[in-house]
């Protein structure tokens, strides 16, 4: 069948930077960045949640800006820097936001968490001292079904201003 043939035939080499390291992949034009990250590169910390750009579980940073990995073709990432939640901290060394999420139990099932952390990270870079309402507005596009958001706002607020988690001990 044509589709399957087209699938193989049109693959192109795509080079981008993933969490600080250059990667080269073969990607067909119809493959989204989400598909390539998950299926080709094994970056399963980027989640599929809806494919509509609504839920935010596939959030990655493209040159520092949060985007929907499900709504970007992989070929469009060529030459760009892609950051997933694994690019936030180092192995065994959590980023302050990650520490705050643990301390505040801002994650329950954890499925929204990678996207939530990335959006929060990008937001805090531009808004070092946000109000709770500003934090809520910043994460409004990332859905969470477990926490009711209160703890997520707490955790982000704890990191605001100082650049690190103000409260790493739980309440």
């Amino acid at each position: 069948m044509e589709t399957a043939a087209a699938e193989g035939a049109a693959r192109a080499g795509v080079r981008f930077v993933l969490n600080g390291s250059p990667v080269d992949v073969w990607a067909a034009p119809h493959e989204t960045l989400l598909a390539v990250l998950r299926d080709t590169l094994g970056a399963t910390e980027v989640k599929y949640g809806c494919g509509e750009g609504v839920c935010g579980t596939c959030t990655v940073l493209l040159d520092g800006a949060p985007i929907n990995a499900c709504l970007l073709l992989a070929v469009q990432a060529a030459g760009r820097a892609v950051t997933t939640v694994k690019g936030l901290g180092a192995e065994g060394h959590l980023h302050p936001l990650q520490r705050a999420f643990v301390a505040h139990e801002a994650a329950q099932c954890g499925f929204c968490t990678p996207g939530m952390l990335l959006v929060a990270h990008a937001f805090l870079a531009d808004h070092p001292r946000p109000t709770r309402d500003e934090i809520r507005s910043a994460i409004a596009g990332n859905l969470c079904r477990c926490t009711g958001y209160t703890r997520i706002v707490d955790a982000i607020e704890a990191c605001a201003g100082t650049g690190k988690a103000a409260r790493v001990e739980p309440r």
């Binding site: 589709t3 087209a6 699938e7 049109a10 067909a28 034009p29 119809h30 493959e31 989204t32 598909a35 599929y48 494919g51 509509e52 750009g53 609504v54 935010g56 959030t59 493209l62 800006a65 949060p66 985007i67 929907n68 499900c70 709504l71 970007l72 073709l73 070929v75 469009q76 959006v119 990008a122 937001f123 507005s137 910043a138 409004a140 596009g141 990332n142």
Partner: protein, 294 residues
Amino acid sequence: MYPSPFAYHAPVTMGETLALLARLPEAKILAGGQSLLPLMNLGLAQPGALVDVNGLPGLETVTEDGGGLRLGALVRHRTLETSPLIRRRCPALAEAASLIGNIRVRHRGTLGGSLAHADPAAELPLVAVALGATLEISRLAGAREVSAAEFFRGYLLTDLAPGELVTGVRIPAIAPGTGYGLAELVRRAGDFAIVAACAVITTDGAGVCRQASLAIGGVGPHPLVMRRAEGLLTGGPLTDRRLAEAADAVPGEVAPESDVHATAAYRRAMARVMAYRALAQARARAASGPGRPA
């Protein structure tokens, strides 16, 4: 979740792009992709060819144009929202952009893409109509311009012919004493509005309305211009009563349909409420000082 395969073209010059579009009239244009990619992920759109215009130079620029603004078609919503020049010259556009979807959509979504997609409840088409914007359209045979009010033709339907590309948008200079208002009713933060209204009012020094523009989204196949309401306002003092009369004229000029989120009757009623709120905001901003732009 996995789009069907297609032929992918990523031209880097305008000439190349227009030639491709002329050769592939069925091709879909990929700008921000925030409306097209969802449809492809769901299998609702299965284009045979995609022309990715993101590599075209010069389409992301924002420049002063006389007293107004000229915006490239690839200006992202996030730029509309945050650019100091736009916030100064056309805060209505900045506010409208800030209401779109979510931060991820705003980082990728483009002005030209939103206008060309023409969702009847989208913010940018509404504001473009209310502000009297002009769209620049290119095709292989040349370029043309069309007013936003004439550009939207029906549900997801525009004046664009196959082979044509929106390349830019011009926002006219805004007269002193002008204020804007934007009111929308959403069921959830960031969602498409059930009803949205955008008003632009210019007053003279004495509080008399010299010019009024009012457009409503979500109550017809595309943003609708409320001619009767505008007529009722122009030339008179902007009293609460005049505003209410203008808003009262709105339900008679809209053509809403029912869907799972709201019935036609409710949309009609809300068109009046949103119109009043937008007008009242515009009046307050217009009065807050001459020279305050919309």
